[in-house]
Assembly symmetry: C2
Homo-oligomer: 232 residues x 2
Amino acid sequence: MHEPLTLGFVDELRPIPEATVARLPLYLRSLLELATDRTSTISSERLAAMAGVNAAKVRKDLSYLGSYGTRGVGYDVEHLLFEMSRELGLTRDWSVVIAGAGNLGQALAGYGGFGERGFPVVALLDTDPAKVGQTLADVPVCHLDELPSLVEAHHVTIGIIATPATAAQEVADRMVEAGVGSILNFAPAVVNVPDEISLRKVDLAVELQILSFYQQQRTGSLLPDGDALPAS
Amino acid sequence: MHEPLTLGFVDELRPIPEATVARLPLYLRSLLELATDRTSTISSERLAAMAGVNAAKVRKDLSYLGSYGTRGVGYDVEHLLFEMSRELGLTRDWSVVIAGAGNLGQALAGYGGFGERGFPVVALLDTDPAKVGQTLADVPVCHLDELPSLVEAHHVTIGIIATPATAAQEVADRMVEAGVGSILNFAPAVVNVPDEISLRKVDLAVELQILSFYQQQRTGSLLPDGDALPAS
DNA sequence: ATGTGTGAATCGGTTCACAGCC
DNA sequence: GGCTGTGAACCGATTCACACAT
């Protein structure tokens, strides 16, 4: 029984838990707010309140980045902001393409939040000849076949899938083939990618169905006929 | 303040783990696919492959719903579909309002996926007088002040927040006040709601930042100067 | 006195492995 | 023989609680 020697690739030798990684952007957002407020120092307690988590979690999470706090005082906002941005890889831009120039794809392209936060959208991709060549939300619509050259020209690292479910796997395959290293999938379909590619998914209908479950639990037994709450 | 030890409300006496609830919609999707294929029976192994999880997880998850499988055979697709729909509360429609008639709100309203799956969007809400009164993507745009009457008239149970971050908490408060029981928040802000309200969040920028982290880990050490592959 | 950093305890969820039923 | 259902083992993540630094 031998360890598969630090599996994967080299990696720096700090194993930041996945759950922590998922929260770092929350802290980052809070820190940015504090920075514009000219707040110079923040305690785990207050940062926790801002990020919507508890203080113990904040301290443990931040400790994975290093010992950037000062006992009895708190964390220096600027310094923490810097270290966290570095850790998250936000000291540079990461170019993005969005596959699927439909409703959702266009909205995502037009959603200011991306470019501003260091994720410039370099193209929308579609196969519909009526769409290719247009510029929607300031983003050129290219044919999906252009993917490899776009990736090369703009050093695209992230692909967003906003196509119908049926096209999702095909598009993902082509993204991986073209050299995209990370994929965010909005299509309601399971997509498979090689282990070395990062994949996250957001399924809007699934989110509603989860809410439906809990709603059902609360109202279900009381209201067989699906009417609203009786005024308490 | 009458909190019985079994926290919350009565509930049926099976405690379906949160992680399981979040996967049920995935199974549901797979089962719907199977049903249209006229497949009558499915093993945990095959269902797992379709849903992108492993077989042990499928069996444990499904066992929370009841013993609906047949040893040596598998699960009856139709029956499982029925039970799962019931459990998820999908035997009835749940009306939805979307706050924020901007880019994202409009896209969500136009996203066919919702209405089709039992979540009719009854209104977009905004405070911009230029938008109120229009019909976008077949959905009427109403003033946010209309929220209480809309909730009452259409038995709205789910609110989607697609406003700027600054408006999110205010909108959430008004939704809760109006009687909405579940909220899906797309705004990049932490919103607080009472314990009895279900809240889920989807933050697009956060998703990209998480991908950025892992991308960084892989390429980071190799490319001190922040440029991409030394092609060209 | 205050608030971080972190081992230790705990919890929820996943995986294993096999008994039980078809 | 094949596949489900489920205790038991395991693993990652959360929470606790306190020593330690300022």
